[in-house]
């Protein structure tokens, strides 16, 4: 059971672990995945997990009740003493047009956490900016890329941007240039 004072990372590990015990694979994504990699630069009160298996709702309810979370709306759970809300956006786990089939699994004592890789977090946050001009998401993408230079495959990010633009020509190529300029790389 999570108690008052638990941190965001405590919540993420606890939730992912109880779901894993219930036979569900939940992958941390969105802004909360960025916050996982750059906790001092980016904060999130929403914890987004995409479910990979998709167990029945009562299975999730029962698992999350073990850590003190109760469902308050479809796919949305809150804890009476914690500010962090758990949300389960509808899957599949995808970034733009591409499904994500691999993720990182972190371990801590007896707990685990499935989370998007740093490269996918950069893609995901940049896409959020690209689609909605959300500057916070842009800064998160840049922060993760700078914090994890050896783990972020910028060539893969660039190739993916080109595939997205090929499929949807309304995406602005200047935004891509802005991203790589922010990372001191030429696009």
């Amino acid at each position: 059971m999570l108690a008052a004072g638990a941190s965001l990372i405590d919540v993420e590990f606890a939730v992912c672990s109880v779901l894993a015990q219930a036979g569900e694979t939940a992958v941390l994504c969105g802004g909360s995945a960025a916050a996982f990699y750059v906790p001092t630069e980016y904060e999130s009160l929403d914890v987004d997990f995409i479910l990979h298996v998709g167990k029945a709702r009562h299975t999730l309810d029962h698992a999350l009740a073990r850590v003190g979370y109760a469902r308050v709306a479809e796919g949305f759970y809150e804890h009476p003493q914690l500010p962090f809300a758990i949300e389960f956006p509808i899957g599949p786990l995808a970034i733009g047009r591409e499904e994500v089939t691999g993720w990182r699994t972190e371990r801590r004592h007896h707990e685990l956490l499935h989370v998007l890789t740093p490269t996918d977090v950069v893609r995901d946050r940049f896409l959020h900016y690209w689609a909605w001009k959300d500057e916070t998401a842009f800064r998160a993408a840049v922060a993760v890329a700078r914090a994890k230079p050896r783990e972020v495959d910028l060539e893969a990010v660039r190739a993916w941007c080109e595939r997205e633009m090929e499929a949807d020509r309304t995406y602005d190529p200047e935004d891509v240039e802005r991203l790589f300029a922010a990372l001191d790389l030429t696009p």
Binding site: E74, G75, P89, I90, P92, A94, G96, R97, E98, E99, L127, H128, A131, W132, A167, D168, T170
Partner: protein, 113 residues
């Protein structure tokens, strides 16, 4: 044309009309305007938007003081969905007609009509 003679691909004629109208929009529409454009009530449209938001197909964004609904371009099938809806618009000529005459961007002050 009667709605029961149209496809209802997305579960109801209301959802089909709503999504078709959004596919014909560049910047999205307020719920009230969306309802007016598809001959429905704001309450029914609001309910349908919530369900479609939950499915990830549409998103609503705060623009100024009001909420604008748009197709979710981040959704993994967004390109294909838009193409399908643009085809589906053929079944809703009255919506297509209204969309063609609806000005989304504000006119510059003083610009002649």
């Amino acid at each position: 044309m009667r709605d029961d003679l149209r496809p209802a691909l997305f579960g109801s004629a209301l959802r089909d009309r709503l999504l078709t109208r959004l596919a014909l929009s560049q910047n999205g529409l307020h719920v009230r305007e969306l309802a007016r454009q598809i001959d429905s009530s704001p309450t029914a449209v609001h309910r349908a938007v919530i369900a479609l938001e939950h499915a990830g197909i549409v998103v609503s964004r705060l623009v100024g003081n009001s909420r604008v609904v748009v197709l979710n371009r981040r959704w993994y099938g967004a390109v294909e969905l838009r193409a399908l809806l643009e085809r589906l618009a053929a079944a809703y000529p009255e919506i297509r007609e209204r969309a063609a005459h609806y000005r989304e961007r504000p006119r510059r002050i003083g610009k002649p009509l």
